[in-house]
Symmetry: C2
Subunit: 376 residues, 2 copies
């Protein structure tokens, strides 16, 4: 019902509009399935015959409440969230969680953080306002982050262990959750639902929506009830996971439209094989791209250890910065945009989130081979 098309998707002008869409390899906010955008567009003036746009619906009204519940149920189903865990929607981005997690659970104590670069460092810094985070492992070698941290130096008294499952800047990904006896907390902003997740192994997972789940403006939190109950109660109500859970994330007005969009994306994921389907699709896309890099190793160079290569953000370098600039410009000419690496590391970055079509990676790799041949 949620993906019902109320707006003609197949007339000539609509087709022309779809045809004009570019291939967007942005690291986030990121591309969304065109069919999802069409569905949103079609019902934007009148949601399900209510005479009211979903942008206008009260969060207390039956239309939005159904969307909210449906979106929660889809997340629970697609991520196989056990009944031991609650699903929440919050504002303020994953950066908000950098603070809310220690505000609730650090309580002046210490927590172990795993270092995979920029985002883990920001989480660590926020935790320092509420207790004593310590580094318990790093993926850094020399100047760059090149792998998921191993040989962890976990401490016995840690309130929790925090890791970033995928580092968008370094292109480094954990391919299994780290082993820890303390509650495991993961920032999965950039790889949630790109593959099945062992939710039960985690006490708290959070993820900004704007990579795999929808537009910017909402953060998903999956939290184990037994941890939730230990949260501080002398902090503002709206930062207490337990109070949010008791009100189904509607202690105040939630970001209704971003949540609605997440519901649309989740339905698309379900229609395309769920987490397993995404995993297969993402594996194929990443394999093809990394093979193209490795097969042309004299021209393309991946700085990341093979066992830690990200399926979501593939980073690589060309022989010179000038060639990288030429590559980015030539790709854009071919309708493939946002291929530039993060300014802190340079090079090329291709983000392969769920909504990137496998055919677009074929087009990219064909382009890469031709570019290498011409310029190698």
């Amino acid at each position: 019902m949620m993906l019902q098309k109320c707006w003609p998707p197949s007339d000539e002008s609509a087709t022309l509009r779809v045809m004009s869409r570019v291939i967007n390899f942005s690291p986030g906010p990121a591309t969304l399935p065109t069919s999802v955008l069409e569905s949103i567009q079609g019902e934007l003036l009148d949601f399900q015959g209510s005479g009211i746009s979903i942008l206008e619906h009260s969060h207390r009204g039956k239309h939005y409440v159904a969307v909210h519940e449906q979106t929660t149920a889809l997340l629970k189903e697609l991520l196989s969230v056990p009944d031991t865990h609650e699903i929440l929607f919050m504002g303020a981005g994953a950066s908000g969680q950098f603070a809310f997690v220690p505000m609730n659970f650090l309580q002046g104590g210490s927590a172990d953080y795993l270092d995979t670069g920029t985002w883990s460092k920001k989480a660590f810094k926020s935790a320092g306002c509420y207790g004593e985070p310590r580094w318990a492992g790093t993926g850094k070698e020399g100047e760059r982050y090149v792998r998921a941290p191993r040989d962890l130096d976990l401490s016995e008294g840690a309130k929790y262990v925090h890791y970033t499952s995928n580092a968008t800047i370094a292109g480094v990904q954990f391919h299994a959750a780290p082993n820890a006896s303390a509650p495991l907390v993961a920032d999965m902003s950039s790889d949630i639902l790109s593959r099945p997740v062992d939710v039960a192994a985690h006490s708290l997972i959070y993820a900004g929506a704007q990579k795999n789940l929808g537009p910017a403006g909402v953060t998903i939190v999956i939290i184990e009830k037994s941890l939730m109950e230990q949260g501080r109660t002398n902090i503002p109500d709206h930062f207490q996971y337990g109070l949010l859970a008791a009100k189904q994330s509607m202690l105040n007005t939630p970001p209704t439209f971003p949540i609605y969009c997440v519901g649309k994306v989740l339905q698309w994921v379900k229609d395309n094989g769920g987490a397993e389907g995404m995993a297969k699709r993402n594996q194929e896309k990443a394999d093809l791209l990394y093979k193209t890099i490795d097969d042309n190793a004299e021209f393309f160079r991946s700085p990341v250890e093979k066992g830690s290569r990200s399926q979501m953000n593939v980073v690589f370098n060309l022989p010179t910065e000038d060639l990288e600039k030429a590559f980015i410009a030539a790709a854009a000419e071919e309708g493939m945009v946002n291929t530039k690496g993060h300014r802190s590391v340079g090079g090329i970055r291709i983000s392969l989130y769920n909504a990137i079509d496998p055919a677009h990676v074929v087009k990219l790799t064909d382009f890469m081979k031709a570019f290498a041949q011409k310029n190698g």
Copy 2:
């Protein structure tokens, strides 16, 4: 440019869709101008020929940055924000501000809060986590809030004075900012830009967007630089107004789509006479509705003192609860929905935010007169 229509607004099917929209008197999330919704719909698949939806555009890319800057500039212009103040966009709702304000500025001290009911109480409660808020005036008389607090009991050492300029539940509004020597902080969520605002009289104004400015998911903050510079620095970066201002609210990914929608609504406000135009329009709507109540005083009863009556949320009672239920049902039959009062006070509540068309209030008051005549 922002309101350019890329999608046929005047073909027959579009007209039919517009015709099917109901009159939505919701207290928020609230109705938006139909032309704004059409504009958003028209460019949803391809923003300004970029081949990318605004839902997908990177917050670092030129298309979104232009939207962000344009929206900021429109707010500055329409609210006559002086150069002494910064404009910020944040997530987490006005409820987030209930915490961020004392977190930054209370610093263990005390602050004076003015009591107009539910929302002021929530703000007060959050402040209690960071210092000692005290009540310095109330609008409560007997069981209900019926007026803006007067005869204030302000304290000399207060770090700031906090008030809620419009109380959505009680239907009580301040028609002038309270006099205070301490920095004045206002929650203007439900009446911002409904009239000109004396921004210079305030050190901090915050407002959730979902009443007069756009959809849920973004909060506007207007903060005096001299206050901002006194904010705590041993709190998470993303809660420090100063750091947010230094990065134009892009310390992390902002809620891009809600901000884009706010820009559309602001352009509509500008095209319709700006804050002065809204004030005139809102005055006329409220005058007509209150006149209808007062002219039929044996049937409709406003519990609010005349000098404190809200132009945004008009609350009133009918002789019996059964008649109120019948009124709500009959109004819905006529295509006028969400007229039910808040469950804590009952009765009828008609929200007259900017986007409510004056003609819709004429229709409502005609209906009210007929209903009173039939049932009185």
